[in-house]
């Protein structure tokens, strides 16, 4: 994603290439205008609305116990989900790169399906499969397990797709050397492969986390929406919009957005740090 690795081409000063200053300003202006229209103005309206009644109202809105419960559930569920994704995503990427079996190509293509499939479709399907009328007898609908399951579905591609390219170009010499020196596969993985993979895993985790805390469509049917028990932040916000307390909805939305951005920032920093310290 934003891990801008890759080689930076050696180039003479750019001024020699793109002479006229005015055009760049116009280009920047247009880009800013587009971004403002689509993203910045709506989010600004959101922030303004959230503090419409003053900071006091903002504070009350986000310290409302139902909001806190929803945020807590969202954060904890998302952390669990990204932890599982870090493990399973890496495993799946490993199997897809290092292993071979009939149908591997098909499986590889299907990994991206949760990304392209509308979340509501995921919701009704998971409900039919793992809910009260389950053909396989598993009923976890309307519980926190259902929340985790839906989130695992929608975040499936992120870690896998982040790790695969790195794994593909990984130099296996070190692994083979270590193995020939008697290191067990697990040790080889832990001490040689994992450090090289960790920036990619973290990048995938960042995306998965951001997606997970905002997820709505698959949860609106499956989670049961019970305040304090299975109500996630996005569904809570939706409920606030429907009840008309838009200041409260906006306040919690701003908080959710802030958490996501902070997380993205942190993980970006950690991955850049680990990149630097690893060479």
């Amino acid at each position: 994603m934003s891990a801008l690795s890759g080689t930076r081409a050696e180039a003479p000063p750019r001024a020699a290439f793109w002479p006229r200053l005015g055009g760049a300003t116009l280009g920047r202006g247009l880009v800013t205008a587009y971004l403002s229209l689509i993203v910045l103005i709506p989010l600004a309206a959101l922030t303004v609305q959230s503090t419409e009644g003053g900071m006091g109202t903002f504070w009350t809105a986000i310290t409302n116990s139902e909001a806190i419960a929803a945020l807590k559930l969202t954060l904890i569920a998302s952390l669990i989900v990204v932890a599982i994704n870090a493990v399973m995503g890496t495993t799946i990427a490993w199997v897809l790169v290092r292993d071979s079996f009939p149908g591997k190509g098909v499986v590889n293509s299907l990994i991206d399906l949760p990304f392209a499939l509308p979340t509501i479709v995921a919701g009704i399907t998971l409900l039919a499969l793992y809910g009260p009328k389950s053909p396989v007898g598993i009923d976890v609908a309307y519980t926190r397990i259902a929340v985790i399951m839906a989130l695992l579905f929608v975040t499936l591609p992120f870690v896998v797709r982040a790790v695969q390219p790195t794994l593909l170009v990984l130099d296996r010499e070190m692994e083979e050397a270590a193995a020939s020196l008697g290191a067990k596969p697990l040790t080889v993985f832990r001490r040689i492969v994992l450090p090289s993979l960790s920036p990619a895993i973290l990048a995938g985790v960042a995306l998965a986390f951001a997606r997970s805390i905002g997820e709505f469509g698959s949860l609106v049917l499956l989670s049961g929406n019970i305040p304090f028990k299975t109500e996630v932040a996005s569904v809570f916000i939706f409920g606030q919009i429907e009840t008309g307390t838009t200041e409260s909805a906006a306040a919690v939305s701003v908080l959710l957005l802030a958490i996501a951005l902070v997380m993205l920032l942190l993980i970006g920093l950690v991955s850049r740090w680990s990149l630097r310290h690893d060479r």
Binding site: L21, G22, G23, V31, E66, I226, P227, F228, I241
Partner: protein, 334 residues
């Protein structure tokens, strides 16, 4: 340092393209005879399949076309307030209508006709599995048998409010104190395993296998049965009369008002009755008395103080009685 002209041109195009196309795409010109109906979720079937075609066969309705939107009552009310175009609005409870009146979209005298602006009624019933295996007959049964309850989230769904006030009023009817009635609500909510955001969602949840008893509108139960679902319903002795408000908006054409008026005619009321809604016109109601038994302990929201009072006392998101109950339950389960 310059961005080549092509890039700036391209970006300019990219800027104007979306809005331009978007506005063009929505510029479907509606003729004067198009009526847009914004209603709560449950009457979708009867409007689309029966009432609208029947109206179009009348002289006032001849040549009209319809645009329809159905979703949760609060959802729709809020949308109209925020600018969703609508000529006829039909919600599931009066406060949702009041909201659009306050926003100036509907005239203040909307409920001055002889039916107080309510075009069809219903009652809160218990929806159960076919054959009523748990033997639910009364509100006490739900608690005594510790049944799993499905009812929507009262802060999002109008139907949920009706359900809870029916439960509360039933307790008062049976001679209990207000505190005991509130305790009943707490017990009821503690047995609620799912709280969907609308009555229709709750019905779907129940039909999909969750819960022992669903609190819902009588007409929802009938709709489910007519759709072939394996459910029965029990009308408890004490229950509340659900009255749903309808009105034409201030900017609507006269044909919109004609449509509203049509819905009160005996022909239309008969259609409502066939679909499971209680007609408000007495003659039609009497003809369908077998289908719609009058519970001995039937009461209305006015008996409980009217929606303004009830909304404030019970459903205020911070201080309301139900909000407090949910919080108590949440704290208890944390």
């Amino acid at each position: 340092m310059k961005t080549p002209r092509w890039a700036t041109l391209a970006i300019a195009v990219g800027l104007t393209l979306p809005l331009g196309l978007g506005v063009a795409a929505c510029g479907s010109s509606s003729g004067d005879s198009e009526i847009s109906l914004v209603a709560y979720s449950t009457p979708e079937g009867v409007y689309t399949d029966e009432l609208i075609p029947a109206f179009q066969k009348t002289s006032e309705g001849d040549g009209t076309t319809f645009k329809t939107s159905f979703a949760g009552s609060g959802d729709q009310s809020r949308a109209v307030e925020a600018g969703q175009p609508g000529d006829v609005v039909h919600f599931s409870l009066d406060p949702d209508m009041q909201r659009v009146v306050d926003a100036g979209k509907v005239a203040k005298n909307w409920n001055q006709n002889s039916y107080h602006g309510h075009v069809e009624d219903s009652v809160v019933v218990f929806v159960v599995r076919k054959g009523n295996p748990e033997g639910v007959q009364s509100w006490d049964d739900i608690i005594d048998k510790d049944l799993e309850v499905v009812t929507p989230n009262p802060f999002q769904s109008g139907g949920a409010k009706w359900n809870l006030m029916a439960a509360y009023g039933a307790q008062i009817n049976e001679g209990r104190s207000t505190q005991e009635a509130q305790d009943y609500l707490q017990q009821l909510l503690s047995q609620t395993s799912v709280q969907d955001s609308s009555a229709r969602d709750a019905l779907n949840t129940f039909v999909n296998g969750k819960g022992d008893v669903l609190l819902s509108y009588e007409n929802e139960a009938i709709a489910a049965q007519q759709a072939g679902e394996d459910v029965d319903y029990v009308t408890p002795d004490d229950t509340i009369l659900i009255e749903t408000p309808i009105a034409a908006t201030t900017e609507a054409s006269t044909q919109a008002q004609d449509f509203v008026d049509y819905l009160y005619t005996p022909d239309a009321q008969e259609i409502w009755a066939d679909a499971g809604y209680r007609p408000v016109v007495k003659s039609v109601f009497d003809q369908n008395k077998d289908k719609f038994p009058t519970p001995p302990g039937l009461f209305t929201i006015d008996d409980l103080g009217g929606w303004d009072k009830v909304n404030t006392d019970f459903f205020d998101p911070t201080d309301g009685i139900v909000a407090q109950i949910e919080k108590n339950l949440g704290v208890a389960t944390e």
